[in-house]
């Protein structure tokens, strides 16, 4: 149970990551990354700017205070300065004052000791210092300006700049939070969008695949969709309609030609036959007989074309339940002497009493066609062998014809079922390239599938009848 559960989770994870393979998901991810980058740049600028503004403001306030105290000293002397400093120290929370003598002994102010830090380029000193605020002792970042008077008295005027630090910290937190949020939102968003687009595209994909595999009559059902995918599927449907019409046309053309040419050909042949009855000259009769044979071949081709057209129109004539096992056995019996004469070893494994619903005569024709091909295209001299098996598995009936003859290249597996297609190496042998087309048309009429594979050497023809009766 746990295995199954963990497997399901694994599959779900794989599926989740598959969503990111969608183009839409990738686009969203790329866009999110870009957005995060922009945000970082923007946030850093805001951060810098804010800090600058705050620093400037603090410096301005310090300068005002600084100038005021210098004026006080110059006008009223040291005494007054000390009083002012002490007064101001009491009222202020953020202002910092310290006055000392030249030996750094505290004279007045709210700082206890002189900071050891050095001056910066603008004449300010930054330091961290503990001081009493009400009943608490606090350690804050501070900045101050200093001056040393002629009598050695040193004065420090500064400000607590802790708010600057707090705001910068808050800003950094905000930025980090925003970046994380955007990354998460980007991943989730791209997964969702990826899934959405994949589902929609999959609907199109499976529909198109089905249509390609089975028949051109299928269409994509897009009634429930109402977006850009609808447009695509509508256009695909229109394309299919057009292809369907073209295929139908080409089918009808060969059928129509066959139908129209058959009649004059019949008359031609009849006249030739009448002539051969009349003529007593033996040499002339040979010519006429040859002409009659050629006419017969043409008529055979036309008949095959008309047959294929009629099977493709799916008229199920004379269908009934019959014993397929006996049919195959009697075909084998008919062909046994032929196999012997061609030095072909026959191996057959026919399961008894398998019945199907269909047309016995037509199926017999298609099976003999396959056997005929196996005999015809076993031209090598090694131990020739044909294996015919019939068995039932999972309600399906499988009929295989396996030879070790010349075989067919994999590339041509589907083309050999096309009308008039012949393998290059067999162009010189008799045949019209309609045999397997006929086989396929007959099997399709029975909802049976036919597939070819390599027997190394030779050909495996697999026919599958699905249980539909």
């Amino acid at each position: 149970m746990q295995d199954i559960a963990s497997n399901i989770i694994r599959i779900k994870i794989v599926m989740f990551f598959n969503y990111f393979k969608a183009l839409t998901a990738k686009t969203v991810l790329i866009f999110s990354t870009f957005f995060v980058f922009i945000l970082i740049v923007l946030a850093l600028s805001v951060y810098e700017f804010t800090l600058k503004v705050m620093e400037k403001e603090n410096n301005r306030v310090i300068n005002i205070e600084y100038k005021y105290l210098i004026k006080t000293y110059l006008k009223y002397g040291t005494q007054k300065l000390m009083i002012t400093i002490n007064q101001r120290s009491k009222n202020q929370n953020t202002a910092i004052y310290l006055a000392t003598d030249k030996l750094y002994n505290k004279l007045a102010g709210n700082l206890n000791s002189w900071p050891e830090e050095k001056l910066d380029s603008e004449g300010f000193i930054s330091f961290e210092i503990s001081r009493a605020l009400g009943s608490e002792i606090i350690t804050h970042k501070s900045r101050a300006k200093i001056i040393i008077f002629k009598n050695g008295t040193k004065l420090l005027v500064g400000r607590d700049v802790q708010p600057e630090i707090l705001i910068s910290k808050a800003l950094i937190n905000l930025i980090i939070f925003a970046i994380i949020f955007i990354i998460i939102a980007g991943i989730i968003g791209s997964a969702l969008l990826g899934r959405y687009s994949l589902t929609k595209v999959n609907i199109l994909n499976t529909a198109i695949q089905k249509i390609t595999d089975n028949d051109l009559n299928g269409r994509i059902n897009n009634k429930t969709i109402n977006n850009e995918y609808k447009q695509i599927s509508t256009n695909v449907n229109r394309m299919l309609q057009r292809i369907d019409e073209l295929v139908d046309n080409s089918k009808n053309i060969s059928g129509n030609i066959a139908h129209d040419l058959k009649k004059p050909l019949t008359k031609l042949k009849a006249n030739l036959e009448l002539a051969s009855i009349k003529i007593r000259n033996k040499k002339s009769i040979t010519y006429i007989d040859d002409a009659i044979n050629e006419a017969d071949n043409l008529i055979k081709i036309f008949n095959a074309l008309l047959d294929i057209a009629s099977f493709e129109s799916e008229k199920k004539q004379d269908f009934k339940v019959f014993n397929l096992s006996s049919t195959i056995k009697s075909i084998i019996e008919i062909y046994l002497p032929v196999f012997e004469d061609n030095n072909i070893k026959l191996i057959s494994n026919i399961e008894e009493k398998l019945k199907i619903f269909g047309n016995n005569i037509l199926l017999t024709q298609s099976f003999t066609n396959i056997i005929d091909n196996a005999i015809k295209y076993s031209t090598t001299n090694r131990d020739k062998e044909i294996k015919i098996t019939l068995n039932k598995k999972n309600e399906n009936i499988y009929l295989n014809f396996i030879d070790n003859g010349d075989g067919i290249d994999k590339d041509n597996y589907s083309r050999v079922f096309d009308r008039f297609f012949r393998l290059e190496k067999h162009r010189q042998t008799d045949g019209n390239g309609l045999g397997l087309s006929l086989v396929k048309a007959i099997l399709k009429l029975h909802n049976a599938s036919i597939s070819l594979s390599n027997n190394k050497p030779g050909l495996i023809v697999k026919i599958m009848f699905t249980d539909n009766s």
């Binding site: 009448l274 007989d289 003999t368 015809k376």
Partner: protein
């Protein structure tokens, strides 16, 4: 033979008529079902050649009516359709044989003659004989010059069909239908293979060859002294 030909396509009709005349048959022709049926009711013909599709009354109906009136003249159906269920329907309605257009005259003639023979058939006879070749239907034994010949079931069936129509042409198509129940012509020459096997057994060791190949048409079993 007196033949009634009912066919609505006039060119086919005239070709068949000409051809049959060449073989010295008398042919009455009609191009619609009504007239054809009336002629058939006269019951004067040896064979009726009948097109499936006819204006007026179609071929199937004509046969049904004739059989209902106890007219048993053999009927050979002609059809341009040639689809399987047509053949089945034609034979079910009471037709005796079926031929798909286009056919060869040799085929038509062979079939007409086979139908005519059925009127006084050899099939009721248990023992068929050509010269010194004897086929006994009752015990399925075949002998030549009193020597037993051991035949496979298919060889026996082939010989039986040939001997029932001895001295006459049996076309390849007729053999495929009657011996193997195949209603199409396979690419592989099944007939040649089977005929040559039969020939080995019945003719090979004898001076007089009974099983003849009629070039381009079919086979015949016959005894010619020369």
């Amino acid at each position: 033979m007196k033949i009634l030909l009912i066919e609505d396509d006039l060119s086919t009709l005239s070709f068949i008529k000409k051809g049959l005349n060449e073989f010295s048959h008398v042919v009455d022709t009609f191009s619609n079902g009504h007239d054809g049926l009336d002629a058939a009711y006269l019951n004067e013909h040896d064979i009726i050649i009948l097109d499936r599709m006819l204006p007026g009354i179609d071929g199937l109906t004509i046969v049904t009516k004739l059989r209902n009136n106890n007219i048993t003249t053999p009927v050979l159906f002609l059809s341009a359709l040639g689809e399987v269920d047509d053949r089945v329907k034609g034979l079910k309605a009471g037709g005796d044989d079926y031929l798909v257009k286009p056919f060869s005259f040799a085929e038509l003639i062979a079939r007409i003659e086979a139908l005519n023979r059925r009127q006084n058939p050899k099939s009721h006879v248990d023992i068929l004989q050509i010269h010194d070749l004897i086929l006994n239907k009752r015990n399925r034994k075949v002998t030549r010059n009193s020597k037993n010949i051991n035949l496979q079931p298919q060889e026996y069936k082939l010989l039986e069909v040939l001997m029932e129509n001895s001295n006459e042409l049996i076309t390849r198509t007729m053999l495929l239908e009657k011996v193997w129940d195949l209603h199409f012509d396979p690419q592989t020459n099944i007939i040649d293979v089977h005929i040559s096997r039969l020939r080995k057994k019945i003719d090979k060791d004898y001076e007089i060859q009974l099983l003849r190949t009629i070039r381009g048409a079919g086979y015949s079993i016959q005894y010619n002294k020369n």
